[in-house]
């Protein structure tokens, strides 16, 4: 494989040299939208945009890993990569993660080895847009936030041009190497982009400050490739056809009961866009897509394999589309659209037990031809008057689900799992008002109601540890949608000389919050080795999330750049019931816990980054110091352990050698600190249920070439 890579690199460099000779005087166009820094849009809610340059400047091996650097965005780590984003304590389907403005991927793995962000590589992205709260409704139902992962799009050129990019990166500690290549160009009518990447990482070791380092089985291999072809029908109309594949092989997850043997994801889409259609209708964007994930996982790398073999094979298909019309009447902007999503999921777990010299094999379905259909109508409106800016959006979703499950669980008249069909009509809406108090100071107040229907896992999963705690989980086909009522208050101050500062406070009241309760063993027994029992998803009355974020960015005009962020979320549930275990048995006397913490809520943290622009901005050293408080507010009902605080320091240098060559190098976790994030999962099989630590010191270098 390495030989092939070297040959490919050599070929690419030779090819690139040739192209460069031909187009020496050409203007370099990177394509897509380029934003030069993390910035705040003037919206009544908090939105963050991340540019390609920012992503390139750090040793990011995973989109989810990068997202953790945004205030109040955390991630759940279960292995070397595929970190699952958490925004203000909202996670999984409470977040709407889409690609390219509307393409959705149904993750194949019930353990979320493959969240949406794991199906796209950082190098493919031109931009990440992140909106906190249920405020952005034109990408689908949103409860806790929206993340749009925008990949690089090709664009027309006045005359035929062809360009290329190459990236090579290496990280110590886990001997991680990554390569990425892209070729793009075209003329005024037809344009294209083709790209591919490969990354192979070994096992990483934790830091040394706790004594000895621990090496975790976190290796993974991933590769991806794809192409996009565009046709400019007219100067106002474009069509773009995209196809890409992403593959994972032997991706290890020490904090899960199984590892990913293979993951094969195929994504295809067709986009049509028209601009300036009439005086009123300014834009029309239509997208249709299909994504397909084949996910295979097993425990063949675990000691349990010798006695009990588990293999899970899941196929997930998401087919959908959207159309959105943008209109402008004087200073009023209107948008309206429809979208549709059809999710199909089918999966089987095969269990083989080797005991008493005999072998017993059985097959459980994890999902049995489960189907969720969601159709949405949405509209948005913005206008400004005097010193006010007004935003409003509304969305109605028609959600229908069913499955061919034959499982029936009824005991004493209580139906735990029986009728699989359900349908809902969900209303989401938001209003926001921004008042410009002075030229520099503005205040925003936004209200929102966001409703989302239960997902495939919550509705139909059958007896699998999905990682919240040491239990198998059972879906609940009769779950109700959960609704987030949120209010955000944001104060923004922006001064050319002093920089930009914002403070945001938010409060979320989630009605019919989807949690889980333990089921009696007389109803259902677990199917996974080592778990305590079976929990089923249920709606609990409510949960609340409260918190704040603040950020400061110094003006770009100065050589010295300073960036400060801080964030805190406090999640609480009014009442939870906890069963008492003694020697593995549930005994009489349940405990009702009042005002329990919600599980997996990150603690307070703050980061200070300082950079200095040398050589007219060609050389930028950057140092960052991240301080994370201990998390003592933990869920008693979920037996969540407390997490100690920690601080780490990173250093990097970005050097623009020429207009064609960029080098980013640095060291993360300079002092080799042993630490783990509160959201990192526990190591399966560890004697004290120890959590998976973060990597210790990592030296990295990324070389970016463009022609």
């Amino acid at each position: 494989m390495k030989k092939k890579i070297y040959l490919f690199i050599s070929f690419f460099l030779l090819f690139a040299a040739g192209i460069r000779a031909q187009h020496l005087s050409d203007t370099i166009v990177l394509g897509g939208v380029v934003i030069t820094d993390t910035l705040l849009k003037r919206t009544p809610f908090v939105t963050t945009q991340v540019s390609k340059e920012i992503m390139q400047s750090v040793s990011t091996r995973d989109v989810g890993d990068y997202l953790r650097s945004i205030p109040n965005v955390s991630g759940i780590r279960k292995g070397g990569g595929a970190i699952d984003p958490v925004i203000r304590g909202f996670k999984f389907s409470q977040l709407n993660v889409v690609m390219d403005g509307g393409m959705k991927i149904e993750n194949g793995c019930p353990n979320r080895m493959d969240p949406v962000a794991a199906h796209v590589e950082v190098e493919e992205l031109s931009q990440i847009n992140l909106v906190k709260g249920p405020f952005l409704l034109n990408y689908g139902p949103a409860l806790g936030g929206v993340i749009n992962l925008q990949t690089e799009d090709p664009h027309p050129y006045a005359k035929f041009e062809i360009h290329g990019n190459a990236m090579f990166g290496y990280e110590t500690n886990w001997d991680g190497a990554k390569e990425y290549f892209s070729l793009y160009g075209g003329n005024s009518k037809v344009y294209f982009r083709a790209s591919g990447g490969y990354r192979k990482y070994g096992d990483y070791s934790s830091g040394k400050t706790d004594g000895e380092t621990t090496t975790y089985n976190t290796s993974f291999t991933k590769y991806n490739y794809g192409a996009k072809a565009g046709w400019a029908i007219s100067p106002k109309q474009n069509v773009l056809l995209s196809y890409s594949e992403s593959h994972g092989r032997d991706v290890m997850f020490p904090a899960l009961t199984m590892d990913e043997k293979s993951d094969d994801t195929r994504m295809m889409s067709l986009d049509y866009s028209a601009r300036n259609i009439s005086e009123v209708i300014k834009t029309l964007d239509v997208k249709v897509y299909r994504t397909n994930v084949n996910h295979l996982m097993d425990n063949s790398n675990r000691i349990t394999w010798s006695a009990k073999q588990m293999v899970a094979d899941v196929n997930a298909i998401n087919t959908g589309g959207k159309a959105i019309l943008g209109m402008k009447i004087k200073n009023q902007n209107l948008s309206a659209g429809i979208d549709f999503e059809n999710i199909y999921k089918d999966g089987v777990r095969t269990m083989t037990m080797l005991m008493m010299g005999t072998t017993s094999t059985t097959r459980f379905n994890l999902w049995n031809k489960a189907l969720i259909r969601n159709a949405g109508l949405f509209a948005g409106y913005t206008t400004s008057f005097n010193s006010f800016k007004f935003d409003a959006a509304i969305r109605v979703d028609f959600n229908k689900a069913d499955s061919e499950d034959t499982l029936v669980l009824i005991k004493d008249g209580v139906e735990y799992f029986n009728e699989t069909a359900s349908q809902f009509v969900n209303l989401s809406a938001n209003l926001g008002l921004t008042r410009k108090i002075t030229e520099k100071l503005s205040v925003s107040l936004a209200f929102a109601r966001g409703t989302r229907s239960p997902n495939m896992l919550e509705r139909y999963i059958k007896r699998l540890t999905i990682g919240y705690d040491n239990y198998d989980y059972l879906g609940n086909p009769q779950l109700k949608p959960e609704t987030n009522y949120e209010v955000d208050l944001t104060l923004t101050y922006s001064d050319k000389k002093l920089g930009t500062m914002y403070v945001n406070g938010f409060y979320s009241y989630v009605k019919d919050y989807i949690s889980a309760v333990m089921l009696p063993s007389s109803v259902i027994m677990p199917a996974t080795l080592g778990v305590l029992g079976v929990k089923q998803f249920v709606n609990v009355d409510n949960a609340t999330f409260t918190g704040f974020e603040l950020g400061y960015t110094s003006p770009q005009a100065y050589k010295l750049g300073v960036n400060v962020i801080a964030a805190l979320t406090y999640g609480q549930i009014p009442s939870e019931t906890k069963h008492i275990f003694i020697a593995g048995q549930v005994v009489p006397g349940d405990i009702v816990i009042k005002n329990d913490a919600l599980p997996e809520i990150p603690p307070f943290e703050t980061t200070l980054s300082v950079n200095y622009r040398l050589l007219h901005g060609k050389l930028i050293p950057r140092v960052s110091y991240r301080l994370v408080a201990a998390q003592h507010h933990v869920s008693d009902a979920f037996d969540e352990p407390e997490t100690p605080g920690f601080s780490i320091m990173n250093f990097s240098v970005a050097y623009k050698l020429s207009k064609n060559i960029n080098i980013n190098a640095g060291v993360n976790n300079i002092f080799d600190v042993s630490y783990y994030e509160h959201l990192n999962r526990k190591i399966i099989g560890s004697p004290e249920n120890k959590k998976l630590y973060e990597p210790g010191r990592v030296l990295f270098v990324n070389l970016n070439l463009s022609i």
């Binding site: 037990m353 005991m355 005999t358 017993s360 007389s522 027994m525 009489p588």
Partner: protein, 269 residues
């Protein structure tokens, strides 16, 4: 413009009006208590001393016991008026292992209506509908697995030990009960199995009347008189049946028939 602001605030308020109050379901208010079952193992009326060849059964076999593991299920409390309380609110199958002290006590989760209960019954082993392979995947219960080719599910009981045969040679026995098989011929081969036999049986404990008082726990000792497995109505001879009986339905049938008086009640407090 003020109107727009007013409408905004009004709509925002309306969005939040959907928040509803709790609807707590009151319980039925009946007074309840609890029971706790302790498992005692006796041989010839005395506490079991394992790993010592000090016992002699009715057939005259000197024997010792090394391990005992078994399931009881569907424990039921019977009232004089014919009503019953099935223990199943949390678990309906209990595993007992003399080497795992925590299994020797079962603090029953169920809330039990106060009052006098005439008797207690249970199923020795696991009923057909519940005795399905892969029901248990975790130790220790998983170690009771009964091979699928012999009927599947789990052993009802394992008593492992050794006996001294007629030649004074110490032999191991595995007095195991589970789903039996009927073979087409005298040759015991799995290919010739034509039917399976459920060997679980119901036990009604004699003298097991109890009184459950409000907010109190009634402790009941359930005694397994191990020697009774080998006494009546059949004298069980290890020399005749040999060491392993998993594929010997007549032997398991004999054990099943002997099981009627194996369990008694000890102290009730």
């Amino acid at each position: 413009m003020k109107y727009a602001l007013f409408v905004s605030i009004l709509l925002g308020t309306l969005l939040f009006l959907d928040i509803s109050c709790n609807n707590d379901t009151p319980d039925d208010g009946k007074p309840t208590g609890h029971i706790s079952l302790s498992f005692i193992h006796l041989v010839d009326g005395l506490p079991l001393e394992k790993d010592i060849m000090k016992y002699v059964n009715a057939a005259g076999n000197p024997y010792e016991i090394n391990q005992i593991m078994y399931f009881i299920s569907d424990v039921t409390l019977h009232k004089a008026d014919g009503t019953t309380k099935l223990i199943s609110d949390w678990t309906d199958i209990h595993y007992v292992d003399i080497d795992i002290p925590s299994t020797l006590t079962w603090d029953v989760y169920d809330d039990i209506d106060t009052g006098v209960y005439d008797s207690i019954s249970f199923v020795f082993g696991i009923t057909k509908e519940k005795n399905q392979s892969f029901r248990f995947v975790n130790p220790p219960e998983v170690n009771m697995m009964w091979p699928d080719i012999l009927g599947g599910g789990y052993h009802y009981m394992m008593i492992n030990g050794s006996w001294k045969n007629n030649e004074n040679v110490i032999m191991s026995y595995a007095f195991h009960m589970g789903i039996g098989q009927l073979y087409k011929s005298n040759v015991i081969e799995v290919d010739s199995i034509y039917a399976f036999v459920q060997n679980y049986f119901s036990v009604k404990l004699p003298n097991s009347a109890i009184t459950v008082e409000e907010n109190k726990t009634c402790n009941i000792e359930i005694v397994m008189n191990i020697d009774s497995w080998f006494i009546s109505p059949h004298s069980y001879d290890h020399n005749f049946w040999g060491g392993a009986i998993m594929q010997n339905q007549p032997a398991m049938q004999m054990a099943k028939e002997n099981g009627f008086d194996v369990f008694t009640v000890g102290k009730i407090e």
